[in-house]
């Protein structure tokens, strides 16, 4: 057995992750019912053989909505982390390359500034142009992620740049761009994946919050956060509505957090026991 699977955080994280990914993929080809189909005659039903997790206030099948919600959550995480990763790593490496100079200062101070805007507020500002919707939520979370990745990438790049083999590579005639691509990038990838996992979890939580507030994913697209908002209205009559989407969010976030922790330990044994 690969030792990686025996690491408790990584093992449990990977297992939960497989569950969420499986649900998301399954929802592409099959759901018990049409997640957007309303059946007014079957509103707020408790779990049954036909509707495993019951129905909501419009008679939509909760199980189907939760499955499609997994797809929505993973997509949000992927895009938000993608935005943060691409811009953050590029800016962080650039800043490291020009360490101590004006460009470094300018990039890092502007990123500090971006970081001062909580993602919810950035989403609200973006919403003025595009109206409420999934796109502005994802972009806002992505923007918030940029400084997080940039700081890590800068610090990691500086560490690698100080190594002798970088000087050797430069002496051998490699251009700065080539050094960055061939030597720096592969060396900081592991760290970025670890950070990516944590930010993935953050993105899913943030999107759920925004959708709960009504400024994220819009109906009829199923979103776990949105489902919790609907559920709150019927808390006394149908408490089961408030349980399933919350569990779904918690399991997904837990999966990415554990996976990130596990990867960090596996990539850098020195970080263990901390």
């Amino acid at each position: 057995m690969n030792p990686a699977w025996r690491h408790p955080s990584f093992g449990v994280g990977a297992l939960l992750m497989a569950l969420v990914l499986g649900a998301a993929l399954l929802s592409l080809v099959w759901t018990p019912h049409d997640p957007t189909a309303m059946r007014i005659m079957a509103r707020l039903r408790p779990p049954s053989a036909e509707h495993w997790l019951g129905t909501d206030q419009f008679g939509r099948d909760i199980a189907s909505m939760v499955l499609v919600g997994a797809r929505n959550a993973l997509l949000v995480g992927l895009v938000a982390v993608g935005i943060g990763l691409v811009f953050g790593v590029a800016l962080g490496m650039l800043a490291a390359l020009y360490r101590g100079r004006l460009l470094d200062e300018a990039v890092m101070r502007s990123l500090d500034f971006v970081f001062a805007f909580p993602a919810v507020l950035t989403a609200i500002l973006i919403l003025t142009w595009f109206g409420p919707g999934l796109v502005n939520a994802v972009v806002a979370i992505g923007i918030f992620n940029i400084p997080v990745f940039a700081r890590q990438a800068r610090a990691a790049t500086l560490q690698v740049l100080a190594q002798d083999y970088i000087r050797a590579a430069r002496l051998a005639g490699l251009s700065r761009a080539a050094v960055m691509r061939r030597h720096i990038l592969p060396n900081i990838t592991g760290l970025m994946i670890v950070q990516g996992s944590t930010q993935f979890a953050f993105a899913i939580l943030a999107e759920a919050s925004l959708s709960y507030l009504g400024i994220g994913t819009q109906p009829p697209n199923p979103s776990w956060g949105r489902m919790l908002n609907d559920a709150q209205t019927y808390l006394a009559a149908a408490p089961h509505l408030a349980l399933v989407p919350g569990f779904a969010i918690a399991i997904t976030v837990l999966a990415f957090n554990l996976l990130g922790d596990g990867l960090r330990d596996l990539l850098d044994p020195r970080m263990k026991e901390r």
Binding site: A201, L213, Q232, V253
Partner: protein, 316 residues
Amino acid sequence: MALFLIKRLLGLVLTLLFAALVIFLVLEILPGDPAAMMMGVSATPESVAALRAELGLDRPAAVRFLEWLGGFFTGRLGLSYTYRVPVAGLIAERLAVTVPLSLLALGLAVAFGVTLGTLAAAQAHRRADLIIMGMTQLGLAIPNFWFGILLVLVFAVGLGWFPAGGFPGWAADPMLAFRALLLPAIALALPQAASLARITRSTMLETLSEDYIRTARAKGLSRSQTIRRHALRNALIPVLTILGLQFSFLLAGTIVLENVFALPGLGRLLIQAIGGHDLILIKSLVLFYVATAILVNAVVDLAYGFADPRLRVGRA
């Protein structure tokens, strides 16, 4: 030291000004005509023109920007478009909910986070540590607003011990008002306490491996005495900085939790302002939030210097 403080203050003022400029640009310049945007597609040209005059949109943008900034000192931030009352008054009124809520949550988070983190470090790799660390993973994974809904389900809908939402106001009955804030504060504190516990544990473990801890133990202090008298103070310094960073998550959290519990705070006001396209109100509220986050971070940065004598500038 004085020069350092002046530099920091100057940087702080510039950051705040820049934040105001960005918000002003995004909300008042880039959309083109804020008046048309606020009134929606069904507005008549006359009513849009009337609102434009009320907002003073015929005057130069620079003048409007400076007036708005000045408003934060004179209290003249304009009339809310949906409420038809002064924005400054609305914000002041809502602070009576948001500030106590944030402080209560912060207090709970620090109390539970530091205690559990210290306990975990003291019991490192034993059962108590594993249980506490497992709990913190759950605390980080559970969305705070869902935790709030669950608390309502159990303690309000089920047991009836607490109100499910709403706020009676401090004037009528302070005890009732406090009870109305307790569940949302607990929900808000959950992820913060979890991450504080994890950070406290790791800095505490680091501190416990220092030489002076071994000296303290060698001179006969018990393990818990050593932790209380020597380790805790040193371990908490890094925790303090993290607290500053976490404050912006706490602020964002109040926006969500105030909406879960229907509390008349700034966050609920903000979401209602968005629903009503009230750009005048949104503009000042967003700046208020961002400025608070920036100021708290600056204060924590300075406090950090005072808490750790080694970091006092100019005395190294």
